[in-house]
């Protein structure tokens, strides 16, 4: 099994921009994407803030090349996946075995929940075509077909760690010499289903979220998609441009503590981070930046914080939660944050953890509060911890 997996391209669409340059600009300027909900029709408009992609479904249709009744989730996925594909230069090489490993938690739920408005009243009502993308796999297949990827398509759904697991799976398919190149990542559009679901769990913040703040109140949801193109060493050498970095470590570890909460000592996060480090051969002090899962819930930030203290004490790297910009994009979050991690290495930048006023008293470290450039970022750890105890960590390293 060959060891090296390189990152050849990245693509993203989120509440802070419709592509990599736009998102980068927002990150540099500390411009959050969290705002009053304006695109999703919901009774919670004006009460619960979220980070929506600033495009209507009609506008997304034009951008993605899908026709307007298509699920918003499909269109978001297409835009980001295509950007990653195009900027990787993979198209210049013939005869590659390519794959698409995508993650999502909602599938086409943005359309299904509209179907249900009519269906609940009368089971003969509701437009069946609204269910065309209900199944998660149909979202991935639609995008793969448009990109012309036939060798392998799979879809993963493990709550908030989904796209980290998609990236891991894609990397392993390359290491096992089953594929030469994989677009891996995830997508989730904002839907009433998830907005109401999280609301009923009482973990949404009615103000703009403050991850890792002593007085944090919960999370803000977001939407978007983030994909990276992973390639084998052979393909990396054949490409015209240098790969952005390598994926040197990853780990999928289950907390097995509770259906939704993380263990207080952070066993799950600790297991995922140590596993990723072990694979990469790095020591904790070799990590230059941690992209935190940092949702802003009382439980996650305590649990993740406790795990970081256990693992990194006394050498704490710079760290921040970019969910303060993009909101929590669920199935897309690890994909989006993988893109940010890669940019951190490529551009030598570290992002701020916005709106941090009072550091958590229980933790001996404080996330970054301002944007910095000209940093020597060699290794980045990206965390994603989800419901069901699904904890995953990725490590990207400079070549």
């Amino acid at each position: 099994m060959s060891a090296a997996v390189f990152v050849a391209g990245a693509g993203i669409i989120s509440g802070i921009g419709n592509n990599v340059p736009e998102c980068l600009s927002a990150l540099e300027n500390s411009t959050t994407g969290i705002d009053r909900i304006s695109y999703l029709r919901t009774n919670h408009q004006g009460i619960l803030p979220a980070s929506e992609v600033r495009l209507s479904n009609a506008e997304l249709a034009l951008l993605s090349g899908f026709s307007p009744p298509t699920s918003r989730n499909v269109m978001l996925s297409m835009v980001a996946a295509k950007e990653a594909w195009d900027n990787s230069g993979i198209n210049s090489i013939q005869g590659l075995r390519t794959g698409f490993v995508s993650a999502t938690t909602i599938g086409g739920m943005d359309k299904t929940e509209n179907f249900f408005i009519d269906f609940v009243a009368d089971r003969k009502k509701g437009r069946l075509r609204d269910l065309a993308y209900h199944e998660c796999g149909n979202v991935s297949q639609a995008v793969a077909e448009k990109l012309g990827i036939k060798h392998h398509v799979s879809t993963i759904s493990t709550a908030c760690s989904s796209s980290a697991n998609a990236i891991m799976y894609g990397a392993r398919l390359i290491k096992h010499n089953m594929l030469d190149a994989v677009i891996a990542g995830g997508t989730d559009a904002l839907a009433r289903f998830t907005l109401n679901g999280f609301n009923t769990l009482l973990i949404l913040d009615e103000q703009y979220c403050q991850p890792f703040d002593e007085n944090r109140r919960g999370l803000n949801l977001g939407e978007g998609a983030g994909y990276i193109v992973l390639v084998s060493e052979r393909v990396a050498k054949a490409l015209k441009k240098e790969p952005d970095c390598s994926l040197t470590g990853y780990c999928n570890f289950n907390d097995a503590y509770h259906q939704t909460a993380s263990s207080p000592d952070g066993d799950g996060p600790y297991g995922a981070m140590t596993g990723a480090l072990r694979m990469s051969g790095l020591q904790p002090k070799d990590i230059d930046y941690i992209n935190l899962h940092g949702t802003g819930t009382s439980n996650n930030d305590s649990s993740e914080g406790a795990a970081i203290k256990r693992l990194f004490e006394p050498h704490y790297p710079k760290m921040s939660s970019t969910k303060t910009f993009t909101g929590h994009t669920l199935g897309a979050s690890a994909g989006i944050e993988a893109v940010f991690s890669i940019l951190s290495i490529k551009e030598g930048i570290v992002y701020p953890n916005l709106r941090l006023q009072t550091p958590m008293a229980e933790l001996p470290f404080v996330p970054e509060t301002s944007f910095s450039r000209d940093q020597n970022i060699k290794n980045v750890l990206s965390n994603s911890f989800g419901f069901g105890g699904n904890c995953s960590s990725l490590i990207f390293s400079k070549n």
Partner: protein, 87 residues
């Protein structure tokens, strides 16, 4: 209060899908969480929904919920106290 306690037991059993437990078997003062009935944090959230749906009362957080839902009696007392205030 007794009538409310009795109604609450039925509602709790239904909301939490307790098929194997008869409502009348739940003690008035039996701890609902931990060693008593063995409910957990997700059940707290379900009971918060119950309070809102049936009694139009809002419990702001899961932490507040832990206090209100200590036993069926504390729930009944909370409902009685807060419904009087809104009358």
């Amino acid at each position: 209060m007794d009538k409310l306690i009795s109604e609450l037991k039925e509602q709790i059993a239904a909301q939490l899908k307790m098929k194997n437990i008869k409502p009348e078997d739940i003690g008035d003062d039996e701890p609902l969480f931990g060693a008593g009935l063995g409910l957990d944090s997700l059940d707290v959230l379900e009971l918060i929904v119950l309070l809102k749906q049936k009694y139009k009362l809002r419990v702001a957080s899961a932490e507040d919920g832990q206090k209100v839902f200590r036993s069926v009696r504390t729930m009944a007392e909370y409902i009685t106290a807060n419904q009087v205030q809104t009358a």
